[in-house]
Every structure is written in structure tokens, then in C-alpha cells.
Symmetry: C2
Subunit: 245 residues, 2 copies
Amino acid sequence: MEKQKPTLYTCLSPSLLHLYDVSPAVVVIIDILRATSTIATALHNGAKAIIPVDSVAECIRIGKQIEAITAGERDGKIAEGLEYGNSPFEYPPAFIEGKTLVLTTTNGTKLLHMALDKGAEHIITGAFANLDAVCDHLLAADKPVILACAAWKDRVNIEDTLFAGAVIHAIKSHFNINCDASQLAETMYMDAKDDLYEFMKLKQASHYIRLTSFGLEADIRHCLTSNTAPVMPLYENGKLIKSII
Amino acid sequence: MEKQKPTLYTCLSPSLLHLYDVSPAVVVIIDILRATSTIATALHNGAKAIIPVDSVAECIRIGKQIEAITAGERDGKIAEGLEYGNSPFEYPPAFIEGKTLVLTTTNGTKLLHMALDKGAEHIITGAFANLDAVCDHLLAADKPVILACAAWKDRVNIEDTLFAGAVIHAIKSHFNINCDASQLAETMYMDAKDDLYEFMKLKQASHYIRLTSFGLEADIRHCLTSNTAPVMPLYENGKLIKSII
């Protein structure tokens, strides 16, 4: 008898996370603009670890305690009291190598903690920046998968859905997918894949509008580019570190 | 100065309804397979009114009280204790004309009551069966619109999303749409519109699988066909009735 394939589900918003059983699964936290893109970039550029925290206050407290860099945004801008923001361009090797980053963001770090609270034991982060590394990890893990989109304040967004679609398109033959949200995500990705940036612009994605109003077109382009930071961020003992698989 | 266009949002699951301000809006309850398709069909075929209720017990109680037909399903089958199910084919004119139907369904009637509890004052139901009538009503109302998908036990589904996309495609130039879920819905509808049934089959939509396992392909085909029941079901004083606009 052929071995049963593991299941794969896409959760389009943190408000839907309660519908899925995260405990036996690999949970992929997806926050393309820009938390999980920046996490991949910082780790790829040599960061020792990234500590995702819920609140700005905790970010400041832990930053002082362990003498780490504090970074984060609220509503797309550097949060008051923190040193750095949420742009992958802020973390070149010369700056980040060997350092620890304490990071808080509007959506991505919050979702990670929701997954933890729900009993998730295997959490990674995914972005176009590390698309292939994520897919390789999911295939090697051979466990159920939850693609968990951080969305924007719980509203479904295009870019996280597109990334879910890209992962599904790459690995679907290895999973049992009875999930309309996954079909939706892959359908949209197939429409968009020839030029993700143009798709975001054409559809006037809400985050496209928000970030371009801050002059951050280059961030959007970078965060939609595949495999610029081929690392696999794995959550372990309160930190995101580079996984060897 | 040009008049500001009203907003339009798509809510892909009842679990996301809290994100939207329903009180000033026209809320369109969408449950293509099959509650809102059946509501349109029954009203078009002469039903006097449809009373949507939350529970099977209430359905039985009200049915006795007013000597109405009791109908409804749980998990796609006629619920125990009720007389009829949730198929549009069960309500031809010869049977339903002049009668009142008390209806309870897994997703659609529940969502309608959620919207009421949240303060919605203008609720209609939409389905492919009455697509053009719904669009005409939304254009005439000139108010904000929430396209509220009933989904399946809070999981996003393809068919309700497709209907939201069809409405958006028809009326988008009259609304201000800053909503990624709406873009997603319209994108998917554009991919699917040449043959909605084939799209559902190709994508192995979860409800396609569920209903075909009960031999209900004809129901699916019928519920995906446009304008078979050109009426506008409006919720008023606890009942869905035929609206004249």
C-alpha cells in the first residue's frame, strides 16, 4: 500500500488559525512585506539569531538585557523606541554579522506567537527570499504543513497568499491538499508569477499602496524576488536560527 | 468635486466578519452550495417568505407555530426532524407557491444571524441564480457593500469566493475597492468564468467533492448557473422576502 501523503493547508489570516491543528505540523509563518523577508536576509547575511517578540516594550527590554539590536515596525514605520526598522536593506553583512536581532512587527511576529500558544512545535519562516530552502525543508520533514499567512491586521493580503501559492505549486505532488484556500492561492500565483511586482501594482494590493506611499518600491521588488537569501530560519528555544536542513 | 464612491469589501469567512463595519452597509450573504441558491429559487418560484433560523430545534418550533415548511441541512444532508433539504430542485412552483419556508443550514443562515448580531440593517442574499438582480440592487442602493461568504465551517471556499468575484467584476467601477480579498476573488473568477463547473472540478473544490459524493452533481451545475431565479431576497422583520428593487 502506498504511504499516505501528509496534508497541506493554507491559513489566509491569523483569525482563521483556530481552524487548523498546528501541533503535529510544520507551520510556515509568511509575512512577505516585510518581516519574514527581513528574517531570511538577516540570517543569510550572518545574523547569529533573531528573537521575535510581540511588543515594542518587550523588544526594548530584551534588547537591553542581552545587548542586541532592537528592530521593528508598527503600521509600516520604525516603531518608537526601537533602533531599526523592517527593511531587508537595513541588514547588510557588515552590519549584522554575528549579531542578534530582537524583532517585533505588526503581523508576522504576532502570528508566530499565536502558533506557539496553540501548541506548534515546528515553526519556520518563509518568504520569496528563501522559497527553495523552505520547499526543501518541507519535503524533507515529511509532516503535515500549515502555510500561515500573517496578513494585515487579520485582513487577507495578496503577497502572503502569492507566496503560499508558490510553495504549493512547487511541492503539491508530495501532499494531500483538500483545501480551497490552497487552490485559491495557487491559482492566483499562476496568474501572477511572470511578474509579481506588476501583479501587485495592477491589483493595487493594499500593502503595495501603503509601502509605495512611504517610497519603499525597492523593498517591495526585493521582497518579491526569489532565493536572494537561501537560508532556512527555524524557531528553536525562543530564537530563529539558521537550520542546516 | 466628484462624489466619493462607496467602499466594497469581501469577507471570505464568517471568522473574519469582525473586521468589517456592517452597520452602514448592504451585507450580501453568499452561500452558493446551496442555501442562497435555494432561497433565490424558492422566492422566484412563488414562496411567500423564507425564515432563516440558526438551529434545527428552532426550525421545528417555528414550523409548527406558523404551519410552514421546515427545511435545512447539516453537513450537506437533510437534518433530522426536518421535512425538506437544501436543494433548489425541491422547491418547484407547484410545491412552494404561496408558502412560507423555515430554513436552517450549516453556514449561510448562521452567517446571516452573525451579521444581524453585529448591527447589520440591510441584508440581502446573493447567488449565481440571482446575480444580476443583486448587482442592480447594490448599484441602486449606493451604500457601502460587504460581500460576506458563508464558507464551510469557517474555512474559505471556492464557490462563494467565485460569486464575490462575479459581483465585483460586474460593479467595480462604481465602488472604491481597497481590499485584497476582493482582488483575489475577482482574479479567481476571471480564471473560472468560462466554465465554473469545470473550474470547481479541476480544482477539486472541497464542496465539489462533498456534494458529488452524495450524487448531487446536478445541484452543483444548477447553483453555478447565472440568473435562473431573477429575484432580490431582502431580509425584513425576520424574513427574506422578494424586494421590488
